[in-house]
Subunit: 103 residues, 2 copies
């Protein structure tokens, strides 16, 4: 899964709120939407984005759709971030200590 779409998906506060509500375990769309400030169709649209980003998966249970967190998307961001982390620390230390001019 591409880290780009996962980052784009996590940029939206409402989408993060949906993810937070799935933290405790799988939930149906109606249960996710219940108590939120946006409408149920809005939640459906957000779930679609989260799914395409590999952050959630779903399965059918009767007439309901149960969504749950998929580690795939999170893993994609994690590896990208870790890869970045090394160079970041090195670049930062070199900056703070040396104070050399790189035009």
């Amino acid at each position: 899964m591409a880290y780009q779409s996962a980052l784009a998906a996590l940029a939206d506060p409402t989408r993060r709120h949906v993810l937070e509500r799935l933290r405790g375990g799988p939930k149906s769309v109606g249960r996710i939407a219940h108590g939120m400030t946006v409408s149920r169709p809005a939640v459906s649209q957000h779930l679609k984005v989260l799914k395409q980003a590999g952050l959630v998966s779903d399965r059918a249970v009767g007439t309901r759709r149960v969504y749950y967190i998929d580690p795939k998307g999170l893993a994609a961001i994690r590896s990208w971030l870790d890869q970045f982390w090394e160079d970041a620390l090195q670049s930062f230390k070199a900056e703070v200590e040396k104070k050399d001019v790189s035009t």
Copy 2:
């Protein structure tokens, strides 16, 4: 630093491209913008967002402004992600194995 602003900042491809260009070390605004498809003012605006998100810092060198990666923003995302990771794996495993219905 808040992880929210960092995530929002990393959602934009151009902004990620700016960060990538700082991976090798500090650079002035002109040098960052050179070779990119967008204008220099656009790069300045992106740097402002990245700075507010704690992803970059800068210092003055003569008439130039040298920017460099700040680990602060990355660390914010990292800790939030790690915090999420635990529950995500647990929730995912419970889903795949048990297949129980949580309305």
